[in-house]
């Protein structure tokens, strides 16, 4: 008895669900980017490091008609001091930021945060500006730039503008970035003498997005506490910070942990419910405050 021959041809890559079809533009200048964005608007996406965008494409959560690859634009990379500001090019890779002695000295909070971002192979590709544009509420860098009062430089064919981190993050994955704009650079105020920075986060596995995280910056003029993973964007904890304003002591840490309920109302997610997240935020606040006290 004969059975039909089995189909043995292996599936080729096109047969399997992959990124949707798109046109690709290798941009060599910002002018080219502006023109393409002006023409294609929301049908186009900027491809920077691609460490969040490409997974979204592969899972077809995003189906742009055009990818504008800005990786060849060298003018968007680099780290330099400009007076009282540390300027970080939007296309600068996380690994470069993490290895920069300038960042370690002038923006220690960012230096501490970088090793928490995913893994070495991701950090070699992911970019500073890309992380801010993505605005994942559990990501490290949005919280850092908010804690540091950084300024984002946005550009389009219409011109350039500067937007403070406070005004940049609007809602879940929503920013002040218009469809025809690109982030070109980020200015981070240089940390004054005597600044103490602490960056802590809790994740189930090393490199995962945080369950809860805290970027803390203590300066002579005050203490900034920015939590992430606790809302639809990074959240500044003003009441907890006020409780520590007169100086950090064990009693005031307890008061600040209690006050945190006025700052945070974390929604639950797949990893933890809201009450657990608030508890974990209090744990991190205690750790960070004790580290600041010792620093």
């Amino acid at each position: 008895m004969l059975t039909p021959a089995r189909e043995t041809r292996r599936a080729r890559w096109e047969d399997v669900l992959k990124a949707p079809s798109f046109a690709y533009l290798r941009a060599s200048s910002l002018a080219q980017v502006f023109d393409a964005l002006a023409e294609h608007g929301e049908d186009a996406r900027i491809l920077a490091g691609g460490q969040s965008l490409v997974p979204a494409l592969n899972m077809r959560l995003s189906e742009p008609r055009l990818l504008i690859d800005i990786n060849p634009i060298a003018a968007l990379t680099g780290i330099e001091r400009r007076g009282g500001m540390l300027r970080i090019g939007a296309l600068t890779r996380h690994s470069e930021v993490g290895a920069s002695p300038l960042v370690a000295r002038l923006a220690p909070l960012i230096h501490q945060a970088i090793p928490h971002i995913a893994h070495p192979a991701i950090r070699n590709r992911g970019t500073f500006g890309g992380s801010l544009a993505q605005a994942d509420p559990a990501a490290e860098l949005p919280a850092c730039v908010l804690a540091l009062d950084a300024v984002l430089h946005l550009a389009s064919r219409r011109g350039e503008r500067a937007v403070s981190a406070r005004d940049f993050f609007r809602a879940l994955y929503e920013t002040a970035l218009a469809p025809d704009e690109v982030i070109t650079a980020i200015d981070v105020p240089v940390a004054p003498q005597g600044t103490r920075s602490v960056f802590v986060e809790l994740a189930r596995r090393r490199g995962d997005y945080a369950l809860v995280g805290l970027a803390a910056e203590a300066r002579e003029v005050g203490l900034r506490l920015v939590f992430f993973g606790v809302g639809n964007k990074p959240v500044e904890a003003g009441a907890a910070s006020a409780a520590l304003a007169a100086g950090i002591t064990a009693e005031r840490i307890a008061a600040a942990q209690a006050a945190l309920a006025r700052d945070l109302d974390p929604p639950g997610d797949l990893q933890a419910d809201g009450a657990t997240k608030l508890h974990l935020a209090r744990v991190l606040l205690g750790r960070a405050a004790r580290a600041l006290m010792a620093a």
Partner: protein, 162 residues
């Protein structure tokens, strides 16, 4: 702009020129166009690390790059690292320590561990774990992998096992 793109790049030291679909990932390009199947397509969204390779000297995820982006780039895959002998000692240590079972993740872990080895010195076990945290292995439980990497670091630094 186009849905197919001409690229010229270097793969394991050899010049390659191809026309590729813009949406073809680097890992699919290597496996299907060049027949280099050492780089594995695992999760295909940047989580598992099985597609780790070197792009211009730095380790990256080949599933999170499109081949179209690589005009002018230099790629080194596990095939290249094996052939050059750069990781012969690491491969021998994986064998000796039973640091693989099914082997699916092994190429990615070797390429990632090679990047740690290139830093020099002897990292702690915690540092090795941290560095390899982006590479999943579903068989070994990781201990043997850490053993093999640690042994290779020590041997290269001229130190014997503790």
């Amino acid at each position: 702009m186009s849905e197919s793109v001409d690229i010229r790049l270097t793969v394991n030291g050899q010049a390659v020129a191809r026309r590729v679909a813009a949406r073809q990932s680097l890992v699919d390009f290597l496996r299907e166009e060049l027949g280099l199947t050492g780089t594995r397509a695992g999760c295909e969204h940047g989580v598992c690390g099985a597609c780790t390779l070197r792009l211009d000297g730095a380790i990256v995820r080949a599933c999170l790059l499109f081949a179209a982006q690589l005009d002018g780039a230099s790629i080194e895959t596990i095939e290249g690292l094996s052939r050059s002998g750069e990781i012969a000692d690491l491969q021998a240590a994986f064998h000796q320590h039973n640091a693989l079972q099914c082997g699916f993740c092994t190429a990615g872990i070797l390429v990632a561990a090679a990047a740690l080895l290139r830093r020099g010195g002897v990292p702690s076990r915690a540092e090795i774990r941290d560095f390899l945290s982006g590479n999943y292995c579903r068989c070994t439980g990781y201990h043997a992998i850490i053993d093999a990497v640690e042994a290779t670091c020590r041997a290269r630094a001229g130190k014997s096992a503790p």
